[in-house]
């Protein structure tokens, strides 16, 4: 085999004469797959809105806690349960009045404004909401990336090698998929004790299966394509086939799945916090804030409202962007 390879020298090949007519077809700048996808995505107003919202929320999550002059865990009981107040936005409800219409800022002689109000320990809710967004996004993104790595490797091996390896790996997945993941997550959190790392781990334990199935399906489909066959015939190594030919073509499906994993992870994290298995104070995620706000929503509904709006905005924008990306990257994957 190797001796055969050496005999094929470059000078054996002669360039085919290029016809005028064919040349014209190549005159335009070639459009790459990603350019094309971006063009299609831009046309979709919903997902563009989603993308802008995600960028905005991420910026707020990063810089929101900094611009308020309050820290997220400073307690001051003299400032507890202040309603939200923003200068000039009084007509929107940011007037510092409580449920009885009494101006709490005047009554307690508080001079600085708390934009989203304060909680029962006098901590600034604006800072806490954005800090929580930061933590929730962090948990979701790390969990999604870990899902991605495990899923791509597992699904890739399963799909690429096929045969007995595939059969064995798929049996494992079949069993795993039969187990309701929420219950596994809850059990693991109980053992690992609530915290950022344990929440991420618990979500990854079951979360990678979806990605693995998508990648396996795609690889199975692609590896029979002519260009892979051609590459193989030319003696390309397995690693190179996977890296150069298969992965770039699976990328679309991977990105789409990733886009839907992130909101799912945010949901699970908030869900766990809501049933009391989330982060411990003074750390806060959106779920923790919603749970806190829920407990006192009767008199201080703002405590529930702000985190609820932010988490909904995050979820909506990721779903919109995911939908748009699905249409842009792979019209066939539409469901």
């Amino acid at each position: 085999m190797s001796s055969l390879k050496q005999e094929v020298e470059d000078d054996l090949f002669v360039r085919a004469p290029l016809e005028e007519k064919v040349l014209e077809d190549f005159a335009e700048e070639p459009v790459t797959f990603w350019n094309e996808a971006w063009r299609r995505l831009k046309k979709n107003r919903g997902s563009l809105l989603g993308l802008i919202t995600i960028i905005f929320l991420s910026l707020m999550a990063l810089f929101g806690p900094v611009i308020s002059n309050h820290s997220f865990d400073d307690q001051d009981l003299a400032l507890s349960n202040l309603p939200p107040k923003i200068e000039g936005l009084g007509w929107l409800g940011f007037d510092g009045r409580d449920v009885n219409g009494k101006d709490q800022y005047e009554a307690r002689e508080v001079t600085s404004n708390f934009w989203f109000g304060t909680d029962e320990f006098g901590r600034d809710l604006w800072t806490r909401v954005w800090k929580a967004t930061q933590i929730s996004l962090f948990i979701a993104i790390v969990a999604a990336v870990l899902d991605l790595i495990i899923g791509v490797v597992y699904g890739g091996i399963s799909g690429f090698f096929g045969g007995r390896v595939d059969g064995f790996l798929q049996r494992i997945i079949e069993v795993l998929i039969g187990i309701p993941n929420l219950i596994v997550i809850i059990l693991f959190i109980l053992i690992l004790e609530p915290g950022i790392t344990s929440i991420i781990l618990a979500m990854v334990i079951t979360g990678w299966v979806g990605m693995a199935r998508v990648v396996r399906g795609q690889i199975l489909q692609l590896k029979g394509q002519e260009y892979v066959l051609a590459a193989r015939t030319l003696g390309t190594s397995n690693v190179k086939i996977i890296w150069k030919h298969l992965l770039p073509n699976v990328m679309g499906a991977i990105i789409i799945t990733l886009m839907f994993t992130i909101p799912t992870a945010i949901f699970f994290e908030a869900f766990l916090s809501f049933i009391g298995l989330g982060l411990q104070p003074p750390l806060a995620s959106l779920g923790v804030l919603i749970e806190d706000g829920y407990k006192s929503m009767r008199f201080f509904s703002f405590k529930l409202l702000f985190p609820a709006i932010v988490i909904s905005a995050v979820m909506i924008s990721f779903n919109l962007l995911g939908d748009g990306l699905r249409d842009a990257l792979d019209p066939k994957m539409r469901k």
Partner: protein, 308 residues
């Protein structure tokens, strides 16, 4: 078909066995003990307690005992409620969960189907955009956020419906509504894309060409064909509802399985946690199985492997 069912049943059994084993051994590693204030108990008292609940035997024996009891349908006794069996607790808890769950499923499926069908028939109209927006909101907003807001505005502020407790039929409305949001959104989205795909098929053109009335085309050809794959959504929907019951029952204080589960977690009532886990898993596995079989039966185009 028979071999297929047999194979699937085999898998179901293995999966359930693995769930039982995982749950059992994970329980061993749980921090804390099922007894409140164990430091106040004397060594003798602890011994008596451990003896009573069989906790003094080696883990392997406990495991075998649990499996044997399980085979007889006995889920053990609760650590928290003196002298009550898990079967008894689950038995009285399952009713409310099933009631609000099925109400949510039926209501959600009907509304979702209507939204999706209207949306597809009036493609790219104002109605279409409206129901797509509802669907995206319903998919995105976490059910417990929606439930909390519903409870605050409808229950507390407007006072139209009781905000919590479990006293009469009107108490079931808000929890069912909160649970059905995900169902509405999922079904509406699904049926819409399904309908749009069917609308482009040749047989629809044929039906129109042979002069069928629009009504007949829509009802006999479009909706009939589009509705079949909705059956496959039952699995994910059942999961969404089960997930939802955990928090929604907590919010509206519905005395169901989910509320019991969240309560038991906080007090380390191992046997009840295991019982609910098994119940949820078994239900989930059974639903997925039934859906697969049903799908093969309804749609003749799908042949199940193993059928000769």
């Amino acid at each position: 078909m028979k071999t297929y069912i047999a194979k699937r049943l085999g898998y179901m059994f293995i999966t359930l066995f693995i769930v039982v084993s995982i749950t059992f051994f994970l329980m061993q590693y749980l921090p804390g003990t099922p007894f409140t204030n164990p430091e106040k108990l004397s060594v003798e008292q602890l011994e008596v307690m451990n003896e009573k609940y069989g906790l003094n035997k080696p883990v392997a024996i406990q495991y075998l005992n649990y499996l044997c009891d399980l085979a007889r349908g006995d889920l053990g006794i609760s650590y928290q409620y003196e002298g009550r069996s898990v079967n008894e607790i689950l038995g009285e808890r399952i009713g409310p969960s099933v009631l609000i769950g099925s109400q949510a499923l039926i209501f959600g499926a009907i509304v979702g189907l209507l939204l999706g069908i209207i949306s597809a028939l009036k493609h790219n109209s104002f109605l279409d955009y409206g129901s797509v927006t509802i669907a995206v909101l319903g998919m995105s907003i976490p059910s417990f956020v929606f439930a909390a807001l519903l409870q605050y505005y409808v229950g507390v502020k407007l006072g139209w419906l009781p905000a919590a407790l479990w006293e009469g039929y009107e108490n079931t409305i808000m929890p069912s509504l909160a649970l059905s949001v995900t169902v509405i959104a999922t079904v509406a989205r699904f049926i819409r894309t399904e309908m749009l795909e069917v609308l482009g098929q040749d047989y629809i053109v044929t039906a129109r060409a042979k002069g069928l009335s629009e009504k007949a085309v829509v009802f006999k050809h479009i909706i009939r064909n589009a509705i079949i794959p909705v059956v496959t959504m039952l699995g994910p929907l059942a999961v969404a509802i089960m997930t939802g019951t955990l928090v929604i029952e907590k919010i509206f204080t519905v005395p169901g399985l989910g509320e019991q589960f969240t309560k038991s977690i906080l007090v380390n009532d191992y046997s009840v946690i295991m019982g609910v886990t098994l119940m949820y898993s078994a239900l989930f596995i059974a639903i997925v199985f039934i859906v697969d079989i049903l799908y093969g039966l309804i749609d003749p185009r799908i042949s199940i492997k193993g059928e000769v």
